[in-house]
Amino acid sequence: MKSDNSSDKNGCSCTIGTAGSDRRSFLKGLSIAAAAGSAALATGCVPSVEAAAPEKMKLRWQEFFKDNYRLMTQEEKEATIARLERLAKLQDNLDIQMSSEPPIERVLYGYAFNISRCEGFMECVSACVRENNLDRKTNTQYIRIFEMEPGKLDPSTGDGRYYHKVPVENKFYMGTQCFHCENAPCTKACPIKATWMEPDGIVVVDYDWCIGCRYCQAACPYYGRRFNWGKPEIPKDEITTRQHYLGNRIRPKGKMEKCTFCIQRTRVGRLPACVEACPTGSRVFGNLLDPESEIRFVLKHKKVFRMKEELGTEPKFWYFID
């Protein structure tokens, strides 16, 4: 179960075809030339304190010429992760542990949200912000909670900016986030395959391959994507240092990001931060391929529905009523 299978399943390798190897060697040549150039620069300097600057330069050059994550070999993935960890140390004196954990076989993640139980405390939102290193300056949030009038089921009729004591009598609450559509309009829109669905059903973004054109954001019918308009700012003591390359690592400016079902947690068997934080048990997460899972129980025994079903996007996110 090496992570190369992620590229095969998504039909990426076939479109690259024979040009792939040429392209790969070309890129490699570029990055080697770049590294050699910056290494020459480095040896020209006096080692010791200033040595960090040329090293940083060299790492940045190599990062600049690296490939799309889906086309990387396992060694290349490990190399870029080592570079990113080292850069975090050099630039911000951060000790991060980044992973390239591949998808678990025979797993397809799904999510269900109990609208009769949620009381709008937004514990999920703050847990998500902390876990995923979201920008505090612009107050980026993957999860939105809408306070809804009875008789309505469309969040656009609800209040997404409520700020008062909850729960309010005769109101109910509806959460939205990326729904990880099986037929996702965002991945279809991306001109450079910087966003795709992994074999375990998680729609991810390669933050370093993204060029920031924001076509995917225009294509998303659920407002599931967020853009880094500036450099994200997170207080240093609040940074989650256990990171995943496709998940909660700190995004560069000018790149798209989104909910990844907490890929850094779920691929090692933990629950997403929002599910764990929910005090009312409104959030259900699990493996859709496992008939014994809680999510399958919900889908079988509860009245479920999905948002904007008519668009045919096939979200893997269901709302249900007790």
Binding site: P155, S156, K188, C190, K193, C213, Y223, W229
Partner: protein, 407 residues
């Protein structure tokens, strides 16, 4: 003027640069003003490069703004060159044959502006090489944006190389071999329609945005382009006619007026059809149109904008259609200018921004471009005008002094 045997590709480029650096006092001041605007644009962009797109007025809800609006409009201006190429080469209209090169110059300038607008809108412009086929990855054919990159660059090549070949032949004192470039001219005619249809499909193909997800968008793009583009070309031809010795025949203006009027009327009919659909029986898919024309939840920033555009558009079309001044350029030229501006307002900001408002989750915000966006845009316009004037100046000098078939 060099002797015929001394002229080669190197002297061609040297001469083009020389002609453009020389010129009258007024011409040089014009060049300096353009340079100043481009400098301001670079200065404004330096903020964006340092701090990211947060220095613009865009946000997660209005994620495309002034840049993409101008891009969309200018694709139409570029496509409109076909309205000169088609009569000149397909119907062998001798009047249009003389001005077709000017239309192609305008198209090249518009395309360079389009590509620059895309580049400044990118969050990671340094990663733009990911878009280059072979060394990057191209999500083809599924992403319409990938198609758009292809058709825009292809059209730029066609519109730059065909005139370059013709001019270079004339420069060398030879006749351009029509058998060689004719296939490319026909290709460019189809290509012109494709650049604008593909750009429309960029928006039309998004079910997430009901305001754009409308089969009329592509045809309406063409109609508005064939009104606004020839209107601009009319203005450019008028400037050339009055400020150079290259005289444009009156019949060219009359024929262009006809093209503009027909396209503008078709455009207005389609606009009316859209408005009818949105407001006769409004559904939740009409909320963008409601926001645009009447405002929503106290957010009304686009309401005066769109009504100004619609009224000016209507008036200018009427003036061009009924021709009250009896072909008086003092009436027709301002009408062309107003029509151009009205379509720019409606098809730029008036199309892109409301498509994103309200957000898919129903949130309404207003969008206002910041000074950075305004100055970067001004800089790009200055760049486009510079490109157009360089090309046209070189073309006119060659056509007048070097062309062996010139009268």
């Amino acid at each position: 003027m060099r002797a015929v045997q001394e002229r080669n590709l190197k002297t061609f480029f040297i001469d083009v640069i020389r002609w453009n650096l020389q010129g009258s006092y007024g011409f040089r001041i014009f060049r300096v003003i353009l340079l100043i605007f481009m400098g301001l644009g670079v200065y404004a962009y330096s903020f964006q490069a340092r701090y990211g797109l947060e220095v613009t007025g865009m946000n997660d809800i209005v994620s495309w703004g002034f840049y993409i609006s101008n891009f969309t409009f200018l694709v139409g201006v570029a496509a409109a060159a076909v309205m000169l190429i088609l009569p000149a080469y397909v119907f062998h209209d001798p009047d249009f044959h003389r001005v077709v090169i000017i239309g192609e110059g305008v198209a090249v300038g518009a395309l360079i502006m389009c590509l620059t607008f895309i580049l400044v809108d990118l969050g990671g412009p340094l990663q733009a090489w990911h878009l280059i086929p072979v060394i990057g990855i191209f999500n083809f054919p599924s992403s319409i944006l990938a198609w758009d990159v292809l058709v825009l660059n292809g059209y730029l090549l066609l519109n730059a190389l065909v005139p370059a070949y013709i001019l270079y032949s004339h420069y060398r004192g030879r006749k351009a071999d029509e058998r060689k470039y004719r296939p490319f001219v026909f290709l460019s005619i189809f290509w012109a329609f494709s650049i604008h249809m593909v750009t429309a499909f960029l928006y039309q193909g998004l079910p997430a945005r009901p305001f754009w997800n409308n089969p009329l968008l592509g045809p309406r793009f063409l109609a508005s382009a064939f009104a606004a583009g020839p209107a601009l070309i009319t203005l450019v031809l008028a400037v050339i006619h009055s400020s150079t010795s290259y005289k444009i025949d009156r019949s060219v203006f009359n024929k262009l007026r006809l093209i503009i009027v027909i396209s503008a009327i078709i455009n207005l009919i389609m606009l009316f059809s859209e408005i009818f659909k949105e407001f006769y029986f409004p559904t939740h898919h009409s909320s963008s149109a409601v926001y645009l024309f009447f405002g929503m939840d106290g957010h009304t920033s686009l309401v005066p904008w769109i009504w100004t555009s619609v009224c000016v558009n209507l008036l200018a079309t009427l003036v061009l259609a009924f021709n009250p001044g009896k072909n008086n350029p003092k009436v027709l030229l301002p009408a062309c200018l107003f029509l151009f501006v009205a379509i720019w307002m409606e098809k730029g900001i008036g199309l892109i921004v409301p498509g994103l408002i309200p957000s898919p989750l129903g949130e309404v915000v207003d969008y206002l471009p910041t000074w950075v966006e305004l100055f970067v845009t001004l800089g790009i316009f200055a760049l486009g005008i510079t490109v157009v004037t360089w090309l046209i100046r070189a073309a006119l000098i060659i056509e007048q002094s070097y062309n062996p078939n010139a009268s």
